[in-house]
Point group: C2
Chain length 222, copies 2
Amino acid sequence: MKDVVVERKVMARNESVADLNRALFREMGAYTVNLISSPGAGKTSLLEATLRQLQDEEGVRLAVVEGDVQTENDAERLAATGVPVEAIVTGGACHLDAAMVRRATQALCARLSGGIDLLIVENVGNLVCPASYDLGEDEKVSLVSVTEGEDKPLKYPALFHNAATLLVTKTDLLPYLEFDVELLIRNARSVNPRLRIFPVSARTGEGMGAWRDYLLQRARRV
Amino acid sequence: MKDVVVERKVMARNESVADLNRALFREMGAYTVNLISSPGAGKTSLLEATLRQLQDEEGVRLAVVEGDVQTENDAERLAATGVPVEAIVTGGACHLDAAMVRRATQALCARLSGGIDLLIVENVGNLVCPASYDLGEDEKVSLVSVTEGEDKPLKYPALFHNAATLLVTKTDLLPYLEFDVELLIRNARSVNPRLRIFPVSARTGEGMGAWRDYLLQRARRV
């Protein structure tokens, strides 16, 4: 019982920092997405490919907040694209919280004079805990790779319920798998009928155009 | 600060139930493994193939405790092998704890007159939180699929540090991927030099013999 009270307090505290983040993102004019998936679903590869597709577009200043339990490997890999990256190493914590993202965003603002139109947050690899933490983002983007099971949205409903978008990743591997994309989509829509869905391959670029165009629209507030 | 105190109390309470579980497993004569991985690393397929390989072996009575956040789909799938399965639906919780496993094990004992030699617990799909929860098991078994990154042991060190065994799963997909198994093994051994490692494919059966033989030895206390 005591644990539940403390958990509620932690969530309430997070929520009030998330509100501050929302105000900050609005003031900055940044559209903010929060990428969430299992470890290994391909968040970093997808993000790398997304940055390369977007970085030459007019009027879309990019920045990344990169969360990991340990190591700054992914942050370094993403920084190689030339896009400003701020790393958060949670040191064991299984999700990002609003305060961590607030500090990272303030650090980015201090580094960047020009501003940010699209801020992409890559969460810790975890399909459970990050789903319930509001970071003040405009939307949560869930990723499921075609090497996972089609029943992921049924087994981990919170994320798919709270996300606005689903990226079905690694579609280049479909010929080698017995994976039913339509079944995944049906399962996802049964949890959240309004889910926007993009099948993509970061490796071949298949489907990446539609995803890039969607982000461009949001970043430009079209 | 208060949160840290509560967390310590939760862990201490879990530890004392884990001690009771250890005593129970010893009394039952059951060797107990706790399978932990990301969602989608293939725990259930691997377990299904493992049960089929072991169920005709003399003197190895099997049972499964199957954990999921939602749905009993996996428990039903495993029960189709004929091996007794007890489902735990955590209803949102991101890991199994010792008390959940205790209740499930007691339910199995009530159903089974013959006893259990090998008890396999499939944890919730999560590479972070289950790593720090002692269930009273003999060993934690970590799984990484070859569709994930080779750096998983560096990015999520707690699990690989606490596990005795690593299963490298879905090796049948290696021809279609740029995955370096040796690099994964080097990374895993840098976190835990004593890690026992089995590359396996549940689909083709490749490597499954060595894994089966290992479990047989443990179950028979050879």
